[in-house]
């Protein structure tokens, strides 16, 4: 019984990180209809920004803010300089998707030039694990869980109750219609990407904290798990995505604990395959019955 709670406790931490990354990815998709393959690199850049600040100041809060800020600015830059131009030139979502592959490639290699390809790590003092209910968590893990809950709550308020959130949902439903009804869809898209970038950058920081070490390629491998969670939850739907992330996060941790941790990506892909074959629009939708429906 004890062992299950240890695994479950770790699973909650993983699910928290994954849900942050996945909700950011789904928000990016929601307003531009573009699956951003360079999403993983936003996490990586966030992790390295926190690394730089942590090295010079040693302050964790400042590091976290740096990660979020760097992620936000990077996502905003991607949206304004590249994605928005592609969307406006009616390039088609597949062409834009290919462009994000190129961006991922460029960002990874810029990071290699600046930081090298070797592993780096933060130096954050770890507290002894604390007993909370049946779970054992370190202070870092508690910080991850609580901040993920807080961010989720903030996103919920923004998307559900604010005028901006309403505009965001309108743009997701129908970009053209939103535009002709006077919503500045370009602004909504840019603001949403900035918001998503903040979340993704922070997710990169907590992921790096949780994993321990990272390289310029680490965001990309986590991106595949993010994709699985997002597709399982439903692309473009923030809260279904987070639910998908919790399911996938827990499933992967249990698979790692009871089968093997070397094949995490393979397990993620297995889940992804089953989901796209059975419920291509997400676990919380009705299954499509014909290819053309």
């Amino acid at each position: 019984m004890h062992e299950i709670f240890v695994t479950l406790g770790f699973g909650i931490v993983s699910a928290a990180i994954l849900s942050l990354s996945a909700v950011a990815f789904t928000l990016e998709y929601a307003v531009t209809n573009v699956a951003n393959l360079a999403h993983g690199e936003i996490l990586t850049v966030g992790a390295y920004a926190a690394y730089v600040v942590q090295r010079s100041t040693g302050n964790i809060l400042l590091s976290a803010l740096a990660a979020a800020g760097a992620g936000g600015l990077l996502a905003l830059g991607m949206q304004v300089l590249v994605i928005d131009r592609f969307v406006r030139s009616r390039a088609g979502s597949l062409l834009t998707f290919v462009a994000t592959v190129g961006i991922a490639f460029i960002l990874e290699n810029i990071l290699v030039i600046i930081f090298g390809a070797a592993n780096v790590a933060y130096t954050i003092p770890q507290s002894a694990p604390m007993q909370i209910g049946p779970f054992l968590w370190t202070s870092t893990e508690l910080q991850i869980i609580l901040s993920a809950l807080a961010i989720t709550a903030a996103l919920y308020v923004i998307i559900t109750f604010t005028k901006f959130g309403k505009a965001l949902r309108a743009v997701f439903q129908n970009r053209e219609l939103a535009r002709v009804t006077g919503i500045n869809s370009q602004f909504v898209a840019a603001a949403t990407w900035f918001l998503a970038g903040l979340v993704a950058g922070y997710a990169g920081f907590v992921l790096a904290e949780s994993v321990g070490t990272f390289t310029p390629y680490f965001g990309f491998s986590f991106f595949l798990i993010t994709l699985t969670a997002t597709v399982a939850g439903g692309l473009g739907k923030p809260f279904s995505t987070m639910a998908g992330a919790v399911i996938v996060g827990l499933a992967l941790v249990f698979a790692a604990a009871y089968i093997s941790s070397s094949y995490n990506l393979a397990f993620a892909f297995a889940i992804l395959t089953v989901v796209v074959l059975v419920r291509p629009r997400g676990l919380f939708t009705k299954p499509g019955r014909s290819m053309f429906e």
């Binding site: 699956a35 393959l37 590249v82 131009r85 592609f86 030139s89 390039a91 979502s93 597949l94 062409l95 834009t96 998707f97 290919v98 462009a99 592959v101 190129g102 961006i103 991922a104 490639f105 460029i106 990874e108 290699n109 810029i110 290699v112 030039i113 090298g116 390809a117 390629y217 990309f220 491998s221 595949l224 994709l227 699985t228 597709v231 070397s262 094949y263 990506l265 393979a266 993620a268 892909f269 992804l272 395959t273 796209v276 074959l277 291509p280 499509g288 019955r289 014909s290 290819m291 053309f292 429906e293």
Partner: protein, 637 residues
């Protein structure tokens, strides 16, 4: 005097270029022709390389571990590599192509290659984990008595022969009917299914063909590198291959080779000579990759069609205006000019002025004769299509509700009803594009309920769509040519050996028929124009020409007058009469009631998902239910 260093360098660059050229030609089948953005592609190259090595080397010496180790001759290993990559492509394609398109397909493909990468690097007994497999030195060198120093030249020569053969193979496929059909999937899948193409099977064929060519490239790569390990193929490496295909011009095999030259040789090699930054070994290779990424993004934005775009294949058209001139506008004008001169147009223009006027005609007591009226009473004719109790629900909404009607053979049946009556959904259900929740569809005496669209089309039931679904990147002639499903002519094998008579890639008989039909519809001058450049009305004419070419037993036309200048009405009515004369039964969905009155022998009226009335138009004219459904109680007095 060129130094030996430069000769060796040139040989290695050309060898690499040839190998990646082969891989790019394989990727072009999947991405350029079938239109699937396959992020798994480099996995097939890698598997080919791994398999070649483990097939040619002996048993592993501990601590090395790998499978097979049979010391087979290199040519056998090449075949084995191609087979392994094809098989993997088949498995991934079976999963990913089943019902996934666009980014969903790419995501699953990316996942698949990543898993492959994880397994090959983590599971040591397969290909020796991170250390990889090695030991393939100068294959066949000893057998053919080639010295160590001469071997690179021979190997380059071998690679050039292979790429030449692959190029000729691809050139043949490109010009064949099989190649055209693949492109039609890329251009519009629904239209391809509506004209009898099994999309899943065709996409799978293209995918496996591409994977096989990737495997071939891999087996050459293995011989060139002598070893292979996971660091030789970080999954994002495929981006380099993508840049090459995109920069050159996807879909165009010459363009693809040019792209390989530009990316692999110009960009890669020019950056190789940048000075090294002391203590920073990563800078130069990373700068090279950044350059490639930038080239990819900039090309996608400024020139997505590539340096040499996929050309239009021009076919000879008989007649004085046969050779298309550069002035497309002049041709378009000439074509519409000929439409204005069509007989009876003025009379048609007076009556056909859109649906609102049409609705008014219902209540009026105009005694205009219906010229298409047949002398035979519809009741005495056999029914070619019987729809019985068809039902479709979307969540809480029942779009088609226990809908039943019959279509007598050899007649024109109008299907009318207000917006939201469920007409288009009913057509989707009949033609297999949506699956019904209940009811049956019987066509020519056979139950076709819930068959996939291509099977229904092959039985002789063809439908059109509310918006014309032409294949925009194909020419008008090709659009018409491909309307006829020719199972024997469209296989890859046929594409390679030619259609049988003569040496042309497309059967002359089909071309002649397509030309004849284009002439009939006044489209001869536009034959070699891309269909996507046509006006709305011209696209409708192409759609009609396709039906003529397909010669189905039954055609369902979904709002053929939608978005069309009423002047074209006369021509459309004539074309429908022509279909009937050629033995095609017609169902036409239309809001333009005068048009229906003119062309249809009888009319089926739908409202709120069900059939509320059917019979000759003039009888329904006075039917209060029909008037209410169209105009509401208050108005329809």
């Amino acid at each position: 005097m060129i130094s030996q260093f430069w000769v060796d360098y040139l040989v290695s660059v050309l060898t690499e270029g040839a190998i990646f050229g082969i891989a790019a030609l394989g990727l072009n089948v999947i991405w350029g022709w079938a239109g699937d953005f396959d992020l798994a592609f480099y996995g097939y190259v890698a598997l080919g390389a791994y398999m070649t090595i483990v097939l040619t080397v002996g048993q592993p010496i501990p601590p090395s571990q790998y499978i097979i180790g049979l010391q087979l001759p290199y040519p056998v290993a090449i075949v084995g590599a191609i087979a392994a990559s094809s098989l993997l492509g088949l498995v991934i394609g079976l999963i990913a192509l089943r019902n996934l398109r666009g980014i969903y397909f790419s995501i699953v493909a990316l996942g698949a290659v990543y898993v492959l990468y994880v397994i090959t690097s983590q599971y040591v007994p397969l290909f020796n984990g991170y250390n990889g497999v090695f030991g393939l030195f100068n294959p066949l060198g000893a057998e053919l008595n080639i010295s160590f120093t001469d071997y690179p030249y021979y190997f380059l020569f071998f690679c050039l022969i292979v790429i030449a053969l692959v190029f000729l193979f691809m050139a043949r496929v490109s010009e064949s009917r099989f190649g055209l059909v693949l492109r039609s999937l890329r251009e519009d899948e629904r239209a391809a299914a509506a004209f009898g193409r099994n999309i899943y099977a065709l996409k799978l064929k293209a995918y496996v063909l591409g994977a096989a060519v990737g495997g071939l490239a891999g087996s050459l790569l293995a011989a060139y590198l002598t070893a292979f390990n996971p660091s030789a193929w970080a999954p994002l490496e495929v981006v380099i291959l993508y840049s090459a295909v995109l920069v050159g011009g996807k879909g165009n095999i010459r363009g693809v080779l040019l792209g390989v030259f530009v990316i692999f040789i110009l960009v890669q090699e020019s950056t190789r000579f940048l000075p090294d930054v002391p203590g920073q070994p990563n800078v130069v290779p990373s700068l090279r990759l950044i350059t490639i990424g930038l080239v990819l993004v900039l090309f996608l934005y400024f020139r997505p069609q590539g340096l040499i775009p996929e050309g239009r294949r021009r076919y000879h058209m008989p007649g004085p205006q046969a050779e298309p001139s550069a002035s497309g506008d002049a041709k378009l004008q000439a074509a519409s000019g000929s439409l204005v001169q069509a007989p009876g147009v003025e009379a048609m223009a007076a009556s056909a002025v859109g649906p609102s006027a049409g609705a008014a005609t219902i209540t009026a007591t105009s005694a205009r004769a219906t010229p298409a009226q047949s002398a035979v009473a519809p009741d005495s004719l056999p029914d070619i299509l019987v729809v019985d109790g068809l039902t479709k629900r979307f969540g809480g909404l029942t779009a088609v509700d226990n809908c039943s009607f019959r279509v007598p053979e050899g007649q024109v049946t109008g299907l009318i009803g207000p917006n939201g009556a469920g007409k288009s959904t009913a057509i989707d259900l009949i033609s297999g594009f949506k699956l019904p929740d209940g009811g049956t569809v019987t066509f020519s005496g056979a139950n076709i309920t819930a068959l996939p669209p291509h099977r229904i089309a092959r039985r002789g039931l063809i439908r059109t769509f509310q918006t014309p679904r032409e294949w925009p990147g194909l020419t008008v002639l090709e659009n018409v040519l491909l309307a006829k499903f020719e199972p024997d002519q469209e296989t890859l094998f046929r594409g390679l050996i030619g259609p049988g008579l003569g040496h042309r890639s497309i059967a002359e008989r089909d071309l002649a028929r397509a030309r004849e039909i284009l002439a009939e519809f006044g489209l001869t001058t536009l034959a070699n124009e891309r269909a996507g450049n046509l006006s709305g009305g011209q696209k409708r004419l192409v759609e009609f020409a396709r039906i003529r070419m397909a010669q189905p037993k039954l055609v369902i036309l979904d709002e053929p007058m939608g978005g069309v200048n009423p002047v074209l009405g006369e021509r459309m009515a004539e074309a429908i009469a022509g279909f009937v004369r050629a033995g095609t039964t017609v169902v036409v969905v239309e809001h333009n009631l005068p048009f229906i009155e003119r062309v249809a022998n009888q009319v089926v009226v739908m409202a709120q998902g069900a059939v509320i009335a059917s019979g000759p138009f003039e009888v329904l004219r006075s039917n209060q239910t029909v008037i209410d459904a169209y105009l509401g109680n208050e108005v329809g007095v």
